[in-house]
Symmetry: C2
Subunit: 270 residues, 2 copies
C-alpha cells in the first residue's frame, strides 16, 4: 500500500490517529519538503513519534525517484507524508497516477490544510471564490494575473484567499551562472510584502478592485499554537508585525453581518 | 479553555493526536450533531476512545444552551466536537463569538473537511469557484439559486463543488400540524438525486450551463475506508449506485491535462 498522509498545519501532533497507525506500519517513510513547510516540526520530532527513519523528498527527489518511492509498495507499506492535506499540489497527483498505472493500491489520509483552516477567520468557506497565489516580485518578473481573479471574485461578492509565496530550495542564479548548484536560503512572503505588491499592481491597473482602505484579514501560522489573526485596512496591515511564517491574506467580498462581526473582532484598529 | 475540535471525515480515529490530548483534558464534551454526520462513527466508539461521556448537541441544544456549554470553560476545559473542521458552519462561529465576548480563551484544532478533501478527485483546489448547496426539492419548495453560481464558475473556467442536502432531525410537518414535535428520519441526498434536480433546472432555465453530456465527478464517503470516486457524464452518473451517504458532486470547469487524466481514471464509462 502507498499511503498519502496529511500532517496538518501545526506540529507533529497534528497527524491523525489513523495516519499515525499507517505510518508506523510502513517500511519506508518519505516527507515531501518543497511545496510546503511545517515550521513547528523537524524531522527528528517526527522520527521520534513514528519510531521510523524519514527520507526528505524535495522537488528533485520526487521527480527523479518517483518510481523508487513506489517500488515495493505492492508488498510493503510505504508512506508519503505531506504537510497539510496530500492533494493540495500537482506533484503528488503525479505520484498517485504512477502508482495507479502500476496497479499499486493507494490510500489517502486527509488532514487540515490552509484551504479549509482559513475558516478560522470567520468568513464562510462556501463564500470564497478562486484562490490566488501571489509570487514574490523580482526585478524582472512581476506576474500579476491574480489581479483579474481577485476582480472576478469581488464582482461576485466572493472572498479571496491569497496564498503567499514560499521559496524553498531555489537554485541560486548567481551560482548557476558559475556552473554550481547552490540553493538560496528559504524565503517566505509576509503579509506586508503581499500588500505592497497588491497596491503596486492596483496603482498600475487603476481598476479600483481594492485600495489602501480595503478591509482585509491577515493570518499567520494557521493551526499552530501561536496562530495570529488580524484584520484591518491594507494600510494598517501593511504596518503590522505578524511574526514568523507562514502568512496568508484574505480579501473579503460581501460579508454577512455575522461574518463581519467575527472578522472585526480581530481588528487591529479601534 | 473552550476547544473547537475537528473530527475529520471518516471514523473516530481521524481525530488528531493534539485533538485527542485536548478532549481527554476536558471535563465536559459536546458533539455537534446537526450540520454534519460522521456515518462511520457512533457516540459509544468516541466515548470509549476518549474515556469520557459525550453530550450530543443538536441544533436546538446549541441554540438554547450556548451559555451553558460555555459556562465554566474559564476554569475547566470544555470540548465542542465537530465532524470535519470546526469552522464550516455559521452556528459554531456563534458559539465562538459568545465565548470571546465573555473573555473565555478558545482554541481551534483543525481537521480535514469536504472543502479540502475533495482534492482527492484530482481537480486542483485553487481552481474551484464558489461552492454551492443543493437542497432536496419538495413539492412546493424548489430553490435553484445555485444555477447562477454554477454558471458564474463555468464562465470563469472554475470547478464547482456541490454540497448535497443533509436532513437530520427535521420536524415532521404532519406531526407539527397535530401539535406534536416528531422528527422525520434522517435523509441524505444522493448523487443521482442531485443530477435529477440539476437537469430539471437546466431544462427550465435553458441557458446551457450543463447538460446530460456534462462530465462530472461523484464522490461518496470521502475520507472513509469505503470511499468511492466515479466520473462520467451526468447521464452515466445518474444511473450509478454510489452506496451510503455522504455524497458530493463536482462539476469541473476547464481542466489542465493532468487534472483531466486524474479524474478520467475514475471513469465509469467503458
Amino acid at each position: 500500500m502507498l499511503y498519502f498522509i496529511g500532517l496538518g498545519l501545526g506540529d507533529e501532533r497534528d497527524i491523525s490517529l489513523k495516519g499515525l497507525d499507517a505510518v508506523r506500519s510502513c517500511s519506508r517513510v518519505y516527507l515531501e519538503s518543497y511545496t510546503s513547510v511545517l515550521p513547528g516540526v523537524d524531522k527528528k520530532a517526527l522520527e521520534k513519534l513514528y519510531g521510523k527513519e524519514i527520507t526528505i523528498a524535495d522537488r528533485e527527489f520526487v521527480e527523479e525517484k518517483a518510481e523508487e518511492i513506489i517500488d515495493g509498495s505492492d508488498t510493503d507499506n510505504v508512506a508519503f507524508l505531506v504537510v497539510g492535506d496530500p492533494f493540495g499540489a500537482t506533484t503528488h497527483t503525479d505520484l498517485w497516477m504512477r502508482a495507479r498505472e502500476r496497479h499499486i493500491p493507494t490510500e489517502t489520509i486527509h488532514n487540515a490544510s490552509i484551504m479549509n483552516a482559513i475558516g478560522v477567520c470567520g468568513l464562510q468557506l462556501y463564500r470564497y471564490g478562486e484562490a490566488v497565489s501571489i509570487a514574490l516580485f523580482t526585478e524582472n518578473w512581476r506576474p500579476d494575473s491574480w489581479y483579474d481573479k481577485i476582480k472576478a471574485n469581488m464582482k461576485l461578492g466572493l472572498h479571496t484567499l491569497c496564498l503567499l509565496d514560499i521559496k524553498v530550495k531555489e537554485p541560486s542564479l548567481e551560482a548557476l551562472a558559475r556552473g554550481k548548484k547552490v540553493y538560496e536560503k528559504p524565503r517566505f512572503m509576509t503579509i506586508p510584502e503581499a500588500i505592497e505588491q497588491l497596491l503596486e499592481v492596483e496603482s498600475k491597473r487603476t481598476e479600483k478592485v481594492y485600495g489602501e482602505d480595503t478591509f482585509c484579514v491577515g493570518l499567520a501560522r494557521v493551526g499552530g499554537s501561536d496562530q495570529l489573526v488580524a484584520s484591518g485596512t491594507m494600510r494598517s496591515l501593511r504596518e503590522y508585525e505578524f511574526g514568523g511564517p507562514l502568512h496568508s491574506l484574505v480579501i473579503p467580498g460581501e460579508m454577512h453581518f455575522l461574518e463581519e462581526q467575527f472578522v472585526r473582532s480581530f481588528s487591529v484598529e479601534d
